[in-house]
Subunit: 102 residues, 2 copies
DNA sequence: ACACGCGATATAGTTTTCTATATCATTTCA
DNA sequence: TGAAATGATATAGAAAACTATATCGCGTGT
């Protein structure tokens, strides 16, 4: 449930592959050496926050600090975005938050 | 919305204060020197992912990589969790963590 | 006034990321 | 066949986090 260093690297790698990017291409996008990118994806380095953010941005991901209390709902949303037809199991979108605030 | 280094530190600081913890107390909880904690909250260091995760956990926060597509919904949920009368935790164990030593 | 807890800051030493660059083993494809 | 692209790995140096420890100024309460 809680993810740690390795989980993050898995997410990053999966996101890169989902976008069909090679490490070298992403390397250029994010301004990070390919050699280092490899280490990051292998979870063999404890990257700095700036690197993570930079990398995430290049992959259309955004880093968020989520209160534990909100975690289930957040994960549900993220899952539903990953698999846009997901009705295999799940609490119906009880979270119909078409909010418009701000 | 997109947050960067400084925003993260603000969130961390706000979370700590919301829990009524001093830097020194959190320092013990998270295993991070108070002096370093201060720098982190001031955004004067580019912390490592492990530090961030560690710190987040101590504050009942969880780090998530959110697809941009899901961001609005996620942010809405997060807002609704710590919004107006923010109780931040209903069943709040009256932890008397005045652990200390020194 | 004095002690206390608070956050900020200083020094110095250790550890590690991060960089640039190059190479390697596979796989893919013309 | 072999050229090209892939991810993994190596070396060496630079920069910065992280540590322990101590101190400082400020506010608060006794």
């Amino acid at each position: 449930m809680n993810y740690s260093l390795e989980d993050i690297s898995k997410v990053l790698k999966a996101a890169r592959e989902a976008k069909g990017l090679s490490q070298r291409t992403l390397s250029n996008l994010a301004g990070i050496p390919q050699s280092h990118l490899s280490k990051i994806e292998n979870g063999s380095v404890d990257i700095r926050l700036s690197s993570l953010i930079q990398l995430a941005r290049s992959l259309d991901l955004e880093l968020k600090l989520v209160p534990m209390k909100a975690l289930p709902a957040v994960e549900s949303i993220i899952r539903s975005v990953h698999s846009p037809g997901d009705r295999t199991s799940g609490p119906r979108p009880a979270y119909t938050l078409d909010d418009e605030d701000e």
